[in-house]
């Protein structure tokens, strides 16, 4: 029971920190980040304790930690909510714990804690730097004007993610999911005075909301069908799964399980930025870099994958290792397509963070595709390793940008974009820690053989696709892997190797330990996280370490998934694409100048890629503009203004016309005579009443009230008699 209490407590410290910072400590930067980091640390500690406890349970998948309370009284029963840690959530909790804590610490350095306030800094805009008191004429970085607020927001973000992970039901999972949506909105738009940040924040919120409304339908459909939203009751219950798999839904051909799975999956498409709802993620780079790491690695996009992993028994209900279910086929297609599609865009981006953004989309596509072909364990494995190395890469890129910003402050030329890789070069020597850790992250992303975690997880996905005969998926993913290695090496070469291309890059400098230490910690995981999942029959080293990951996570499913047999072909393919891509990337970019050598080679294709296949423009034209026009011109002006109010006004006119007829034809000749007589009497009374009629509304009211009360008391008297 004690472990269950710990689980309940995990999300609370960040929530508390959020309120504490906003209500009390917001004027004190040191206190605010102390509260924030301490909260993250407490959650980390609680999470680790729970994780350790989970490791100590035999057959943990059958004996999970769970506890629930009644939440909503409905009809004759209750909707209960609670917490549950099973192998899947334990693993997710582990990486969320570490990445979140590292991001919190990193933020202290990133937002220039301890630096002076900037002379021209305004809340809502990134800091511009301050005059150096010791060295007149020099500019140093200035502290973020909304420093405390940042920690409050990421604390709420962490709360959302922890809520999502420890939930034992879809409803509170959705609560955490949406709170993260709000936080990503607030944080992407953190520098809200920048129109680009404002627009990116709205775009992120709206695009993910498209997915969310479908997901909401999926949730209510599941609830309506099963009468519960509890994971164990639905997903660890063969009877319910069987029922869902065999009941038809109203959409022809789909089973209930299929329909619900697809609805829920659309939620993931939005949250995890899969094609066609991928457009928000690259723009989300407008936020401060720790936020990018938070969104791209630790929390938001991982949440999308986590949800489909969680729902995998439902998604795969009715799948007997033969034909994939409809939902799985859709996932395999969207995932594989997104993996390749995003990788091609990443090749032509100049902004160091945007490359990573597209690589995230692409890697998430991997996981979705893996789940689509039923490679449950491989998908989860890749989720974990990716979280570590992508958090590392994002924080590393933030460190690079921060370093180049130093250079910008030094030269004073604010036109130089510190995020453009073609303004960099040679940073290896200026920022050694950032370089080495970024290199590790980059190699892990490329799937550099044996050493890095990315290799093991990616290889497992490819092996699984090959073993089960999903050759189309296999080929597409292999191609994407090739591109991944290529653009990663392009990025490393452009940023760190060669000679500095600008003065700013020459004057870049390494960052404070608050930023570099998290990089080192994460790089350890970027390497070592892969060792827990080495296939048993891998040549030479297989079996040296037990494939712990597979055994542990497999327990989360009713039917333990079997590991695939070893095959040389996917291994060789995986080696070739990783090493080939890396080599090619180095060869093409080692002597690159300020223009991309690929531009010439690819011609118009490069322009197409550079502009992300014009999806933004397309959506603007076919969705955003028409929606605006529809609301303004049709819904508001035409429907309400012309049709409905037009009818009302017509009715009013008619009534007035009728009144006029009465007055002229009937009232005048017939009634007026009588009325004249009456009028004289009235006039006389009126003179009397004029005493009352002062023209003041108060007076009138007084009379009204008196009359009302007269009635009231009269009636009271009646009762009393």
């Amino acid at each position: 029971m004690t472990t269950e209490i710990l689980i309940w407590l995990i999300p609370l410290p960040p929530l508390l920190a959020f309120f504490l910072i906003l209500l009390f400590t917001r004027r004190n930067n040191a206190l605010s980040h102390t509260v924030g980091v301490a909260a993250a640390a407490i959650s980390w500690l609680l999470g680790m304790l729970v994780f350790m406890a989970a490791l100590g349970v035999d057959h943990f998948g059958e004996h999970v930690f769970a506890s629930a309370i009644n939440w909503l009284p409905l009809a004759d029963g209750f909707l209960s909510i609670g917490v549950m840690i099973d192998p899947l959530s334990a693993i997710v909790l582990f990486f969320v714990n570490w990445t979140v804590l590292m991001i919190f610490i990193y933020s202290i350095g990133y937002h220039n804690f301890g630096q002076p306030k900037g002379d021209h800094d305004h809340p809502g805009l990134p800091p511009h730097g301050a005059k150096d008191a010791k060295h007149p004429g020099h500019t140093v970085p200035s502290v973020e004007p909304m420093y405390a607020r940042f920690f409050a927001f990421i604390a709420l973000f962490a709360f959302g993610m922890y809520t999502l992970v420890v939930s034992d039901n879809l409803l509170t999972l959705f609560v955490g999911w949406e709170i993260m949506g709000l936080c990503s909105y607030l944080l992407i738009g953190f520098w809200y005075a920048k129109p680009s940040a404002r627009d990116a924040a709205m775009k992120a919120f709206m695009t993910t909301r498209i997915g969310d409304v479908f997901m909401l339908l999926g949730i209510v459909a599941l609830y309506a069908a099963t009468g519960t939203l509890n994971f164990r009751d639905i997903l660890y219950n063969a009877e319910v799964l069987d029922m869902l798999a065999h009941s038809p839904s109203f959409i022809g051909g789909l089973s209930l399980a299929g329909l619900i799975s697809i609805l829920l999956f659309i939620g993931t498409v939005g949250k995890s930025a899969q094609w066609p709802l991928h457009v928000w993620l690259p723009d989300a780079m407008e936020g401060p870099t720790p936020v990018s790491a938070m969104i791209h690695a630790a929390t938001m996009v991982s949440a999308g994958i986590y949800m489909v992993l969680r729902m995998f028994p439902l998604i795969s209900a009715g799948w007997h290792h033969g034909e994939l279910t409809t939902a799985m086929t859709i996932m395999a297609f969207i995932g594989a397509f997104t993996a390749l599609f995003a990788a091609t865009i990443a090749v032509a981006q100049r902004d160091i963070k945007r490359v990573l953004a597209y690589s995230t989309i692409s890697q998430l596509g991997y996981m979705i595709a893996a789940l689509g072909i039923g490679a449950y364990v491989a998908a989860a494995f890749h989720l974990v390793t990716h979280a570590f190395f992508k958090a590392l890469l994002f924080l590393g890129s933030g460190s690079v940008i921060h370093g180049v910003e130093h250079g910008v402050l030094h030269t004073g030329d604010h036109k130089v974009d510190p995020q453009d890789m073609f303004n960099m070069g040679g940073l290896k020597d200026k920022m050694p820690i950032t370089f080495w850790t970024f290199l590790i992250g980059g190699l892990a992303l490329s799937g550099f053989p044996l050493l890095t975690s990315g290799f093991w997880s990616k290889d497992e996905i490819l092996a699984d696709a090959f073993a089960h005969g999903h050759f189309a998926v296999f080929i597409v993913l292999a191609l994407a892997a090739l591109l991944t290695a290529f653009y990663t090496m392009r990025q490393i070469t452009l940023t760190f190797l060669g000679k500095p291309r600008t003065k700013e890059a020459e004057h870049a400098s390494e960052n404070v330990p608050a930023m570099t230490v998290p990089l080192v910690v994460l790089s350890v995981f970027a390497v070592a996280a892969g060792w827990v999942g080495i296939p048993e029959h891998f040549p030479l080293i297989g079996g040296l370490l037990p494939n712990w990951f597979h055994h542990f996570l497999g327990g989360a499913l009713l039917e333990h998934p079997s590991a695939v047999d070893f095959n040389w072909i996917p291994l060789i393919v995986s080696l070739v694409v990783a090493l080939g891509g890396l080599g090619l990337g180095y060869l093409v970019y080692r002597n690159a100048g300020q223009t991309d050598p690929l531009r010439k080679a690819l011609g118009p294709v490069y322009t197409l890629l550079e502009n992300k296949y014009y999806f933004d423009e397309l959506y603007q034209r076919i969705f955003v503009k028409p929606a605006q026009a529809f609301s303004e011109n049709f819904s508001y002006r035409f429907l309400d203004g012309v049709v409905i109010d037009g009818l009302l006004h017509r009715a009013a006119r008619g009534a007035m016309g009728l009144g006029l007829i009465f007055r002229n034809k009937f009232e005048g000749p017939v009634i007026d005579y009588a009325a004249d007589l009456l009028a004289r009497i009235t006039q006389a009374v009126g003179r009397l009443l004029r005493i009352l009629q002062t023209g003041q509304v108060q007076q009138y009211l007084l009379w009204v009230a008196l009359v009302v009360f007269g009635g009231f008391f009269y009636y009271l008297l009646n009762i009393l008699q």
Binding site: L74, G124, P195, M206, F214, I219, V220, V697
Partner: protein, 524 residues
């Protein structure tokens, strides 16, 4: 104590009217005193309601209602002064007595004819409470109409200044007069049918007492006035339904609402959106569904279709606005659509679990919308008072100047949007959950409205708080045009609302339990 316990509902009902009288009779023209007295007295019904709330469970229940009071009123036509509450009316009464003091506190900046203003507000409260407490159709109707008059004056006298509304043939009318008139006449037009139908029910059944009518009227068979009873009932059903539909308002009867809201004074909008709209929905739940179960079931799909139209077109029209207050007004159309959708589902499949969940969600949504709409209108009022504009295009980047206001605006907006963790989500979730198996198509379609809720909410935030600061508002302290962040009085108005948003978002059981029990009674 005995006196209080036996007449608790009458005390709740008439204490505001008494307060209005006291305010009017206050000596002198001290405006500040008037305001303070009005506010202090407006807390009296709140106290009585809390007494009723805590005594509710223990009070004996007769025919589904507790704390009943019945006295002779119009013995000749069998109409009596009959009050009583169940969970439905109790939650609505609670909403009313919470929002009225806040609205009065929000009106401390009203400087024109303060006494009359405050008195009208308090009188309005009695009108609204009467609707929720009456167990007699005639009494119900009386209070239904009483509520109209103060609101008419509030809009017409204290509404926003300036602005003209083009009618026909170039005839123009001051905007607020137009709005007040439209509000009044439209509602009255609906009331006509209602009154006629009530009369018919009373004549046929020989009583206006609701408890008696619940028994006799739905069971009536045969012919009436030479027509098939079903036909008569259908006509009466529509008379009731249209009156309430106008009040809710259900699309396409909604166009009075943006006008009235936009022109009403801030506190007027708070009450209008917070409570008055609920009267319509309450009418459906208290009268239409129980009195006409068959007709309600028969026409529920129509109701659901109109509700879906309200959700979708309400969201789209809100998104089209450049006037922030009008945007919030349209958001009411959108949110009340979910209430009606839930009610329609309950009408269609009464007795099923899904119907119960849907109607629970609908009632909770009524309460939640009251809270968040009041907060939103107040936020708009705050910024209007400072900048003297409601035009979204004239703001921008205000977050930097008024951070506390910004934070509260974002919070209220998110509550209005239905963000999980805040109140609106729970009720919307329940409505969607309940209606999905009953009206799958409409539920799915309404998601389009839910999506665009996001669009207009974000538009409001972005145009007000975000983006580059409009230099017009960058005024140094001490100079004309400079404005302060939220004041303490304003915080005092907002904090109960904020607390309720969070409380109902995280732990709605305390309210939902009360509602659920009533819904089980009414809809089995």
């Amino acid at each position: 104590m005995d006196f209080i316990n036996q007449n608790i509902l009458s005390l709740i009902l008439f204490s505001p009217l008494l307060a209005a009288l006291v305010v009017l009779l206050l000596p002198g023209q001290n405006k500040d005193l008037t305001r303070r007295v009005a506010f202090a007295l407006s807390l009296v019904p709140l106290v009585f309601t809390l007494i009723a709330w805590f005594g509710f469970g223990a009070a004996p229940e007769v025919d589904g209602f507790r704390m009943q009071e019945q006295h002779v009123w119009f013995p000749a036509i069998n109409a009596s002064y009959h009050l009583g509450i169940d969970g439905l009316s109790l939650s609505m009464v609670l909403l009313t007595v919470i929002l009225t003091p806040l609205a009065i506190l929000a009106s401390f900046n009203v400087d024109d004819k303060v006494k009359a203003y405050m008195a009208l507000f308090l009188a309005l409260e009695t009108g609204m409470l009467g609707v929720f407490l009456s167990l007699d159709l005639l009494l119900f109707f009386v209070f239904w109409e009483i509520g109209l008059v103060p609101m008419y004056f509030l809009i017409d006298q204290w509404g926003s200044k300036g602005g003209e509304r083009q009618l026909w043939n170039g005839i123009k009318m001051p905007s607020r007069r137009y709005a007040a008139f439209k509000f009044m006449v439209y509602t009255m037009a609906g009331s006509l049918g209602l009154l006629a139908a009530i009369q018919m029910l009373g004549v046929v059944s020989g009583s206006f007492d609701l408890l008696a009518l619940y028994q006799s009227w739905p069971a009536l068979t045969g012919t009436l006035f030479g027509y098939e009873i079903g036909t008569v009932k259908a006509v009466a059903f529509w008379a009731f339904a249209v009156a309430f539909a106008i009040k809710v308002p259900i699309w396409p009867f909604h166009t009075w609402l943006p006008d009235a809201h936009t022109e009403a004074p801030t506190a007027g909008s708070m009450i209008l959106a917070g409570v008055l709209l609920k009267l319509g929905a309450y009418g459906f739940l208290r009268l239409v569904l129980p009195l006409y179960p068959e007709q309600a079931q028969q026409y529920a799909p129509v109701l659901a279709a109109l509700a879906t139209a309200a959700i979708i077109f309400g969201a789209f029209s809100a998104f089209a606005q450049t006037d922030f207050k009008r945007l919030v007004a349209y958001s009411s159309v959108n949110h009340m659509g979910f209430v009606v959708l839930g009610i329609a589902a309950a009408a269609f499949a009464a007795g099923t679990e899904s119907a119960n969940i849907a109607v629970n969600g609908a009632v909770l949504q009524m309460f939640n919308h009251g809270i968040s709409a009041a907060a939103m209108f107040f936020m708009v009022g705050i910024i209007y008072e400072r900048t003297h504009t409601r035009n979204l295009e004239e703001w921008g980047g205000l977050f930097a100047i008024v951070p506390v206001f910004g934070a509260l605006l974002i919070l209220s907006s998110m509550a209005s949007l239905g963000l999980p963790g805040l109140n609106g989500f729970v009720s919307e979730f329940l409505v969607v959950r309940g209606t999905w198996p009953i009206f799958t198509f409409y539920t799915a379609l309404s998601m389009l409205g839910l999506l665009f809720t996001g669009a207009y909410i974000l538009k409001g935030i972005a145009k007000t708080l975000h983006g580059p600061l409009n230099e017009k508002w960058r005024v140094a302290e001490g100079q004309a045009g400079h404005f302060e962040d939220v004041t303490r009085r304003e915080l005092l108005v907002l904090s109960p609302l904020v607390v309720l948003m969070l409380w109902l978002g995280i732990w709605p059981a305390w309210l939902l339990d009360v509602i659920n029990q009533a819904m089980l009674k009414i809809f089995g």
